[in-house]
């Protein structure tokens, strides 16, 4: 059994017990434990089920590479699936549930897949569920969705806070092990601004476990001495519990800091995403031990050798009573020695190398541990826990077989440098045949904006595994990075470290070497995704020769651990099956993040009311208080309508229209874009921008104008007012103000930069209120101060002055067809002005109206709306707006494009009005069918609806649409099929349904 020992455990504080729950059972651990170490201390070896075959799974590692120990953590608003127990720090009240089983962890019905495994090889789903086609949607997919998946999706909203933090450093060191800390120390006096981050809570990395002494100094003391030395430097920032998540272009780096995952409280941000710019980055990310591939290597109790000694040394936990060791290198002997020292039996060390190990092996033998060289494991007994192993000759599986009892196996297949962060931004790797690893290629580092390298891997991350080499390489690499960041170099040397004499590892990719297919189908490569040696071999045989294809076909390395343990082993199997060398097969691409980061941290503070900016007009608060139903218009929120109690939106809109048409309505039009264009060349400029002539507009007058892109398509429209000799005020659509402002700046800055024109966006400087209806003039006269009579302020004119106590500019323009004034006042006066209009308008039954009433009224008048009648493919000619296109001008934006053959095609769809015969409302966007079929066998069409409303004025449905040869077909009846199969016949009419002679607005 696995248990807590009376001795050891440098991370834990035995005086501080912590209670937690796993699958509803109460357990206890100590402060400093991880969830994994605490579970092992309580003999909880079975911690989950595998993804495909639902096989029992145990903890394999002690770090972020863990494939198996994934938990549903927390409850309700703190619930989070797929959390690694090995990196989850224990806190009081922690609750965890294991994943991927039903009904229980101990008895999982899905395990039936395990017995069917020979029928579920790689690519099974692709092959099986393709026929018959309809089965996928209705049978296969729903079933697979039921049974697939690891953790559960949260059902309650996360209440934690998250934030971002922009930070800039000359040098960032990722990894706080011996290499990273020494790099920081080397750089501390370079004059550079430095950040060093460590993903775990404890600094020191493997040094704390693997090197009891660094040159006569205990490892723990050595690390704390460096730490306290580093803390003296103001230019060095140190953050633990912060992972280097990704390295990107031009020195961009994401640091993922976990602030209170280890606490019972939820105060302050939970995660902080550091958005870092670094001149230079050092990756001191160490190395990860590889599993060995042998039959039954996924049974709980089989762990990485380094993890076994981590649990013993850091947490005082023995993972078993009898731990067999299986290795191809010297490092695993450290585990044997550690276990021996704490009184755990090591029945055998199985070393696949026929010549055995070096100094450490010798030491183990001296301690009396049985060492078997040239041997391998050919079978593991046990289901939910290892019971025994059969060992045999590595070369020959039926030679010298022996069953040895044990309840744990510590395996070591050598080490793989953590090259992820080096590779994220283009760093290349090379294969080291001697150490059987991919390591960073010094000559192919990622490069930055200056074309020079900006990431340097040091120490184990650079492929150096012996301590002395690590220290030398760290010094060397650090100096390279410091120099590149512009820092000073000192001449300090490292003290030589006398490593144990280690013998080279021997790459063994399958054990025993002659394992038959039965054994290879029980030999796991990817524990989380259930990919076995036989699956990769099958993929290779079926032609998935590229490593990227084989990965996707087998799902090797595609689980949440992204193949940190499995990739190299899988690759080696692929290359040996293909008969190619490993470097020729290559690796899959390493992509950020290094381990999954929370979505919350990516969003940062952008949630709830900060999810996106909401723009508010000066009168917004009034609308909200009156219970207006708001709709988004770009980032603005505008009242759609103002429903009264018990009133439907439809009824509210009708009421607002009727009241406006019969008496008086008010519209908050503040969102309308207002661009001031001024300068000696402003007229010339606007003539280029608008299709019609603006330079000839008289001061005091207004003109409706159209704007097109160089493609000829309509992009905006609005009323332009000439303010003075050199100044025009251009109104744009509500959504278009910023876009058209940018459009103007772009042409002024990049094409006509010698023209003397300045543009300012004054949209928010003014509140603009539409005073609309037969009584509009009376209301303004009631406020008084400005003569707004027909003669003093004609249609399409403007004037300014004091209107009551307000600084007003009044435009007599109409988008509704009624007598209408748009009054602009400084935004700060907007609310008071609006309230006064409401108050004084009471005698006329004044009613505020929303965007829907605005839309219906403009459609009744046949006015186009950018975004309804236009969609980026419509030219003004399509909308019968040729009257607004100057024929005198030699040039304007879009003119040349509108001469293109397709634009002058007489068969373009053109704007008409449509009246349904039964008075109903046509569906917006509906197409009218024509005779025959197109080349795709689809029914031919002859036009589509662009706007469609119920008109309370006409008491029937009205619509506008673009119809083939439309204007010449007035009176013709065409058909609009609906989705339900029925057909609505509609008559082609003029698009102006209401007051075609404009008598209403000209009073």
């Amino acid at each position: 059994m696995s248990k807590r020992l009376g001795v050891g455990g440098q991370f834990i504080d035995r005086s501080k017990p912590i209670k937690f729950q796993f699958n509803g059972r109460r357990f206890s651990g100590f402060k400093g434990d991880t969830l994994a170490s605490a579970l092992l201390a309580n003999d909880q070896v079975l911690i989950g089920r595998s993804f495909k075959y639902h096989r029992p799974r145990g903890i394999v590692s002690s770090g972020s590479e863990e494939p198996n120990a994934l938990m549903n953590l927390g409850e309700n608003e703190t619930f989070e699936p797929n959390q690694r127990a090995t990196t989850t720090e224990l806190f009081e009240g922690l609750t965890a549930f294991s994943q991927n089983h039903w009904p229980s962890l101990n008895f999982d019905i899905g395990v039936i897949n395990n017995y069917l495994s020979r029928f579920l090889p790689a690519g099974f789903y692709y092959k099986m569920f393709i026929h018959p086609r309809p089965f996928w949607k209705y049978i296969y997919e729903p079933f697979i969705r039921q049974s697939a998946g690891l953790g559960k999706a949260p059902s309650v909203k996360d209440t934690s806070d998250y934030e971002h933090f922009y930070a800039f450093y000359d040098l960032v060191i990722i990894g706080g092990g011996i290499s990273g800390l020494n790099a920081a120390l080397t750089a501390a006096e370079s004059g550079l601004k430095i950040l060093i981050m460590e993903q775990n809570s404890e600094w020191g990395g493997r040094c704390l476990v693997d090197f009891p002494f660094i040159n006569e100094e205990p490892g723990l003391k050595y690390i704390s001495r460096i730490l306290s030395e580093l803390r003296k430097y103001k230019n060095v920032t140190m953050r633990s519990r912060m992972m280097g998540a990704g390295v990107y272009d031009h020195g961009y780096l994401l640091g993922y800091e976990r602030l209170n995952d280890h606490l019972s409280t939820n105060e302050g941000p939970r995660h902080r995403l550091w958005r870092i710019r670094a001149k230079q980055i050092i990756t001191a990310t160490g190395a990860i031990e590889r599993p060995l591939s042998f039959p039954g290597n996924d049974i709980p109790g089989i762990m990485l050798a380094s993890a076994v000694r981590d649990y013993a040394t850091n947490f005082g936990v023995a993972v078993g009573d009898k731990v067999a060791i299986f290795t191809n290198n010297d490092d695993a002997y450290r585990t044997a020695i550690t276990l021996h020292e704490i009184g755990v039996t090591v029945p055998v060390i199985i070393d696949a190398r026929s010549s055995g190990g070096g100094e450490l092996a010798h030491h183990a033998k001296e301690l009396g541990i049985r060492v078997e060289n040239g041997k391998a494991i050919s079978k593991v007994f046990g289901q939910k826990r290892v019971k025994a192993v059969t060992i045999c000759d590595y070369e020959k599986s039926d030679a010298n077989k022996e069953k040895i009892e044990c309840d744990s196996i510590a395996m070591s297949g050598g080490w793989s440098p953590v090259v992820h962060l080096f590779s994220h931004c283009g760093g290349k790797l090379k294969w080291d045949e001697d150490l059987a690893m991919f390591r960073p290629d010094k000559a192919a580092k990622p490069t930055s904006s200056d074309g020079l390298p900006f990431v340097t891997a040091v120490g184990s991350a650079n492929g150096f595994l012996l301590m002395n080499e690590v220290l030398i390489d760290t010094l060397d690499g650090s100096r390279t990075a410091i120099r590149a960041a512009g820092g000073k170099i000192n001449n300090k040397k490292t003290k030589e470290f006398l490593d144990k004499n280690e013998k080279a590892p021997e790459a063994i990719w399958i054990s025993p070497k002659d394992a038959n297919i039965k054994k290879r189908s029980k030999t796991w490569l990817d524990f989380q995704n259930d990919v076995k040696v036989s699956d990769v071999e099958l993929a290779a045989r079926e032609g998935f020769e590229s490593v990227e294809h084989a990965k996707r076909y087998t799902t090797l390395g595609m689980a949440t651990d992204q193949g940190k343990l499995s990739n190299i082993n899988g690759l080696a199997i692929l290359s040996s099956t293909l008969g190619k060398e490993i470097p020729r097969v290559g690796t899959t691409t390493f992509r950020p993040p290094y381990t999954p980061i929370s979505l919350g941290s990516i969003g940062g503070s952008a949630r709830n009311e900060l999810f996106q900016p909401i723009r508010k007009t000066p009168i917004h608060e009034w609308h909200e208080k009156k219970g207006a139903y708001m709709e988004p218009v770009g980032q603005w929120r505008r009242p759609f309508c103002y429903p009264k109690e018990g009133e439907t939106h439809q009824k509210a809109v009708e009421r607002e229209i009727n009241q406006t048409r019969s008496s008086l309505g008010l519209l908050d039009a503040s969102t309308l874009g207002k661009l001031l264009v001024t300068g000696p060349d402003a007229g010339k400029f606007l003539d280029m921008l608008y299709t019609n002539m603006m330079s000839t507009l008289k001061v005091g007058k207004c003109r409706y104008g159209l704007m097109c892109s160089e493609n000829g398509f309509l992009i905006d429209d609005g009323v332009v007012a000439r303010i003075d000799e050199q100044t025009w005020l251009c109104h744009t659509t509500s959504g278009g103000a910023d876009r058209i402002h940018s459009h103007m700046e772009e042409w002024l800055q990049t094409e006509w930069w010698d023209w003397k024109v300045y543009v300012a966006n004054l949209t928010e400087q003014f509140a603009q209120i539409g005073v609309v209806g037969p009584n509009a003039r009376k209301l303004l006269e009631k406020i008084g101060g400005l003569d707004v009579s027909k003669d003093a302020l004609g249609f399409m004119e403007w004037k300014e002055g004091k209107l009551g106590k307000y600084d007003a500019r009044i435009f007599r323009i109409s988008f509704s067809g009624e007598l209408s004034f748009e009054v602009a006042v400084p935004a700060g006066q907007g609310m008071a002005f609006w309230k006064e209009l409401i108050e004084l308008g009471e005698e006329f039954g004044v009613m505020p109206y929303g965007t829907e009433a605005l839309h219906v009224m403009r459609a009744e008048k046949g006015f186009i709306m950018i975004g309804d009648e236009t969609d980026g493919t419509v030219i003004p000619q399509d909308l019968n707006l040729t009257w607004a296109i100057s024929k005198k001008k030699e040039d304007f934006l879009g003119k040349r494009a509108q001469e293109r053959a397709h634009m002058v095609d007489p068969n373009r769809w053109k704007l008409v009005g449509l009246e349904t015969l039964d008075g109903s409302v046509l569906p917006d966007g509906a197409y009218s069918t024509a005779q025959g079929f197109n080349s795709n066998g689809q029914r031919s069409t002859q036009g589509r609806i662009t706007s469609s409303y119920y008109s309370p004025t006409l008491k029937r449905g009205i619509a506008m649409g673009l119809i083939l040869n439309g204007p010449s077909r007035e009176g013709e009846i065409i058909e609009f099929p609906k989705i339900d199969g029925t057909i609505i016949p509609a008559k082609i009419t003029s698009p102006v349904f209401y007051d075609p002679d404009g008598e209403k607005q000209n009073v």
Binding site: D249, T447, E710, S742, Q749, E899
Partner: protein
Amino acid sequence: MLIFTCPYCGIEADETELTPGGEAHLKRFGPGSSDEEFEGYLFNRENPKGVHFERWRHVYGCGKWFHAARCTLTLEVFGTYSAQTFEPPEEIKERIRAKRPGWKWRNFS
């Protein structure tokens, strides 16, 4: 996440402060131009694997458009310069020549 130094305000601007604007040094063709000229102006663009000249606007900063010479493969930036010019400055072309001997882009080299 690129960084460009805005030649108008001197800020080393994060990509999030900028808006991309496509290929630089386009010549506008208006009324009177041939179909081929107009097609080239509206639609045909360089798509090099290597040195490229492009437009960016420091939209969240000083608001000015500028040009950048950048390698599309390595993302190396050879320099940024005024958008109010018909050709990259000689010093930028010289820098590119030194780093990418034999480069050519439209009629610049």
